[in-house]
């Protein structure tokens, strides 16, 4: 039923091109706890890879490896076909892998524009190379406007924005700087229906603009709406790896909810 790990399945779904990011049998152990084992994953340009999984499935660990916060203990991480080890998130960023974390990685007391450009500040061209604050303010406003967010004041501390707005700032920031691969860690988890819609539209737009998007979620509906390729994690293992055409929303939802386990459970509970 599932195309499992043993077969390096769906070899080159985008016509033999080298994937932007590829994981080969990646595993991660923390002491004697195995968080991930034998994960194979390919992220292609212009494709959304949906990573689904319940709580504790290993989604966060997987992101931390791709984004450079942690290093895998087994397997290989390839960027453009070349094996890589990221020492820090800055290394991953330098390779064009940008991550929007669940906690958004923003500093609440700092103004929106300072958060937007944090770590990649624009400086003036001439001595003493101080920050070009007005350029950064204007750019922040423009980039947010592209996401449909009109902020009255980019000097407001980002902590004073709503959850959806903060999410959009974080995504807009990653898109602005993330040249090629965009990793979104449950971007719709804390959002209402309307704001989720904005984010999903944005994901599709990013895909069409040629980004490789990794979309982590535990919402199969959202994943199915934008995903081209799905990977399902369960207890640190890869349970499912298939393309959009090979799976229906019902099947995805069922697999997500526990698949066979759920069927067994419903038999066991025996509501006759």
């Amino acid at each position: 039923m599932t195309t499992t790990v043993e077969s390096p399945a769906n070899e080159a779904p985008s016509g033999g091109k080298v994937p932007l990011v590829e994981l080969k049998n990646v595993g991660k152990t923390y002491g004697n706890i195995t968080a991930l084992k034998d994960i194979c994953l390919r992220v292609h340009a212009g494709e959304v890879t949906g990573i689904l999984g319940d709580n504790g499935a290993g989604k966060s660990t997987l992101i931390k490896i791709i984004s450079g916060l942690h290093q895998q203990t087994d397997g290989e991480l390839l960027v453009d076909g070349e094996p890589m080890t990221f020492g820090s998130p800055a290394d991953a960023l330098a390779k064009g892998i940008a991550t929007v974390y669940q906690n958004l990685a923003v500093v609440p007391l700092m103004p929106v524009w300072r958060n937007f450009f944090l770590g990649q500040e624009i400086r003036k061209k001439s001595f003493p190379f101080s920050l070009d604050a007005n350029a950064m303010r204007a750019t922040t406003l423009t980039e947010l406007a592209k996401m449909g967010i009109e902020l009255p004041d980019v000097d407001a501390p980002i902590g004073s924005l709503s959850g959806g707005q903060r999410q959009c700032v974080a995504i807009a920031r990653a898109v602005f700087f993330g040249a090629r691969v965009l990793i979104l860690d449950e971007p719709t988890a804390a959002l209402g229906v309307k704001q989720s819609g904005v984010v999903l539209k944005y994901i599709t737009a990013a895909k069409e603009a040629g980004f490789g998007v990794v979309f982590i979620t535990h919402n199969p509906h959202h994943a199915h709406m934008v995903g081209d390729h799905f990977v399902l994690l369960n207890r640190g293992r890869q349970k499912l790896d298939c393309a959009y055409d090979d799976i229906t929303l019902e099947h995805l939802t069922q697999q997500m909810a526990g698949g066979d386990e759920l069927e067994a459970l419903s038999h066991e509970l025996g509501r006759k």
Binding site: T99, F129, P157, S160, K201
Partner: protein, 352 residues
């Protein structure tokens, strides 16, 4: 709401738009971190003008500024460190450590005082580096790490001084090579309109101005606010958190060395037990000036105002003819008031 067609995400340009400038200047001024301290400073100034007639003379103002400046240079370093989310309790004895080191190294190795000062700078920066390195490496709160280094430095100051010179103070350095030029830099005075002003006042303003520029106009400044506000977020977007924080501890050490040099060249000899308790004055000045104890918020100008309040109170009580023993009571009361007022200001700023 935007539609699919509007979303042109691939097109990234840095936009210049002259319409985007800081808005609501008056309101922005009102909610600045140092506003509470500024109002407080004016109030205290007027208060002492009324109750203490000698306070009204220009010479008194020069004395107040001098008292403010030696605290203020350190408060500047401590404030920047606090914005970066850390604490340094060893800052008070680090001042004495630097001047003892410069004095004893130069005296006993028969060096030029400038060479002694340079060696002391290396030692001071090493202590600052170790503070920062230990905090970052062990993840133990800087309060505990620097409390340890505070006691260790205090012990070293007393023990090594006794070991080397056999006394509790160092020998006078006033007849040594390099004394006059070093004194001109660190401890001279100049006259403006007939009033003698100590050079540390100028240095205090320079330190504050440079720190302000760095904090608000440079990349490093942005990083300092970020590591203090949320170190994990800062790390995740590529800010070198460890380097920034270690650098901040070393900046405090540099300030301590600078004030240490002033003490050495102003008094020629250094008492080894000096400096204990001063670290609290620096922290008080920074907190009165609007720095948040939890980091990520504050200004160097605020710390300078805090130091000025300290200097005014310190000298004003004497000019008013009161028992100077009351000074610490006033300092404590002001700190309490400042903390409450700053908190109210900040809540207002957040709600705006």
């Amino acid at each position: 709401m935007s539609t699919q067609a509007d979303l042109n995400v691939a097109d990234h340009k840095v936009v210049h738009d002259e319409r985007v400038k800081e808005r609501n200047r008056v309101q922005r001024l009102l909610i600045r971190p140092e506003m509470g301290a500024g109002i407080g400073a004016i109030g205290i100034f007027v208060f002492f003008l009324i109750v203490a007639p000698p306070f009204r003379e220009a010479a008194s103002l020069a004395t107040v500024l001098y008292a403010s400046s030696t605290i203020g240079i350190m408060a500047c370093g401590v404030a920047v460190l606090m914005i970066g989310g850390e604490f340094d309790l060893s800052a008070g004895v680090a001042v004495t450590f630097s001047s003892l080191a410069a004095s004893m190294l130069a005296y006993n190795l028969h060096l030029n005082l400038w060479a002694g000062g340079a060696l002391a700078l290396v030692l001071a920066l090493t202590v600052g580096f170790l503070n920062g390195f230990l905090v970052m490496r062990t993840k133990i709160p800087s309060f505990l790490i620097t409390l340890s280094s505070f006691f260790m430095l205090a012990g070293i100051n007393l023990a090594v001084t006794k070991l080397v010179s056999g006394q509790v103070a160092t020998q006078s350095v006033s007849d040594m090579q390099g004394f006059d030029s070093a004194r001109a830099i660190f401890a001279s005075s100049f006259t403006v309109f007939g009033v003698s002003i100590r050079i540390t006042v100028v240095w205090w303003l320079v330190f504050t101005a440079v720190a302000t520029w760095v904090l608000f106009k440079t990349k490093i400044g942005n990083w300092i606010f970020a590591v203090g506000g949320d170190a994990d977020s800062a790390r995740a977007v590529g800010v070198p958190v460890t380097k920034v924080k270690i650098g901040l501890f070393m900046f405090v050490a540099f300030c301590a060395w600078f004030v240490g040099m002033h003490l050495l060249f102003a008094f020629n000899t250094v008492q080894s037990g000096q400096g204990i308790g001063n670290e609290f004055f620096y922290i008080i000045a920074a907190v009165i000036g609007g720095c948040l104890l939890t980091g990520g918020y504050g200004t160097a100008i605020g710390a300078a105002i805090g130091a000025f309040i300290f200097g005014m109170t310190n000298q004003g009580i004497v000019y008013a003819g009161w028992d100077p023993d009351w000074f610490k009571f006033f300092l404590g009361a002001m700190l309490l008031f400042a903390v409450i007022a700053n908190n109210a200001f900040r809540n207002y700023a957040a709600k705006r």
